[in-house]
């Protein structure tokens, strides 16, 4: 039974807006990160998929740009409670990057420039559910939002959508990433409100 806070009325989401439990809608685009923003140029950027056997598949910026892009419009849900509806991105589907990658892995550990990591089941990166995003709202992705490129996995809390992405290790066994090792949930489904360990 919820505790009622006397005199609190609150603000219901606009009709047609489906907010996960505990979230509220924002119209700006908050920035959250654990340290300084890494500055990565297109020339320096590289993305490496490494399988459980150590085989590496690497893309540089030019090669990424040559791949067919997609333009997903998605809702974002941050564990710090804000949700942003209808964000417009451009990027390359992980399905395309995973084509021709031989793996029996069930988990992915995502690495970022700056040292950030996050883990998730590999199947959550496939079947049109995840992108390497490099444009936001018609513009190049700004460094504070993860530019030049970030992972975008909108069906999970936003900390899984690693900014400044530089690679993914495909693993047979799950390995906690940065926030997952600091008490946050290992999966992070906003609709089941999986914020912290044990949720």
């Amino acid at each position: 039974m919820a505790i009622i806070s006397r005199g609190f009325h609150g603000r219901r989401p606009a009709p047609g807006r489906d907010l996960p439990p505990g979230q509220y809608e924002v119209h700006d685009f908050p920035v959250l990160s654990a340290g300084p923003t890494p500055r990565v140029t297109h020339e320096d950027w590289k993305f490496t998929l490494r399988t459980e056997t150590g085989t590496e598949h690497t893309w540089d910026w030019a090669r990424l740009m040559e791949m067919p892009g997609e333009s997903p419009t998605v809702d974002l849900h941050c564990v710090t409670k804000w949700s942003k509806f209808g964000t417009r991105w451009e990027g390359v589907s992980l399905d395309l990057l995973m084509e021709g990658v031989e793996t029996a892995a069930e988990f992915a550990l995502v690495h970022s420039y700056g040292g950030y990591t996050t883990d998730l089941p590999l199947e959550d990166l496939l079947d049109g559910k995840a992108w390497i995003a490099h444009r936001y709202d018609g513009e190049e992705l700004a460094p504070e939002h993860g530019g030049p490129a970030r992972l975008l996995v909108p069906h999970l809390y936003l900390w899984k959508s690693a900014k400044w992405v530089r690679g993914i290790d495909l693993l047979l066994d799950d390995e906690p990433g940065f926030w997952e090792g600091l008490g946050y949930h290992s999966y992070g489904d906003p609709w089941r409100e999986q914020r912290y360990q044990g949720d």
Binding site: A2, I3, I4, S5, R6, G7, F8, H9, G10, R11, R12, P21, G22, Q23, Y24, V26, H27, D28, P30, V31, L32, S33, A34, G35, P36, T37, P38, T80, K81, W82, G114, G115, E144, F178, G181, L182, G183, R195, Y196, Q197, G198, D199
Partner: protein, 244 residues
Amino acid sequence: MPPPGRLRWLVAELVGRRTESRTARTLVFDVPGWPGHLAGQHVDVRLTAEDGYSTQRSYSLASAPDGQRVELTVQRVPDGEVSPYLMDDLEPGHLVELRGPVGGWFVWRPEQREHVLLVAGGSGLVPLMSMVRVRGAVDGRAPFRLLYSVREPDDRLYVPELLRGAPGLGTAYLYTRAAPPEHPRPVGRLSADDLVRSGWPADLRPMCYVCGPTGFVEAAASLLTGLGHAPERIRTERFGPSGG
């Protein structure tokens, strides 16, 4: 520090309030079952209306651990959904739900011995003040320096406590719009010069904690890396105008 097991929602009763500035208030809660916390951690606050509608916000803990007493400092977000309620309508005896402590990265532990640089923008002081208070509560002597940027003197939080000071704690105020008469520094945004004059040199390898609005944190963190501070020794926490 992973929380032990599942974090439960606890019932918190407002037992006191203090005005900190024109736009900020400290709320004192009694929280039976509170497990204690580290300086820099935050809590989730859940409000539920009579019809069952409910929403949550995160707030930094302002106090040092003190039994089941927990203090949050809430900054008013104009037109916000939650902060005006917490500041204006929540009366002693009223209840909210609270869950925490949360966060194991932006924290300072008393056993840390290195120099500490705290860089606060506006209400970004709150979790840093918790670090200052924990240091004081354990008679800590870790060398602390605090750079506190506000628009004008009336925006400062915790004025009497910071004026009183503590051994080994140096505090520098930076005013961006209006300074008190005879303040030695001209008004303006945080600069590398401020960090050189009032912070620690990078070769001392201080742990740097930066908290404030996004633009402030972006600027402060890149000034610090520009001065040679290692990125892995700069911990940041940002809040936008959407804190509610």
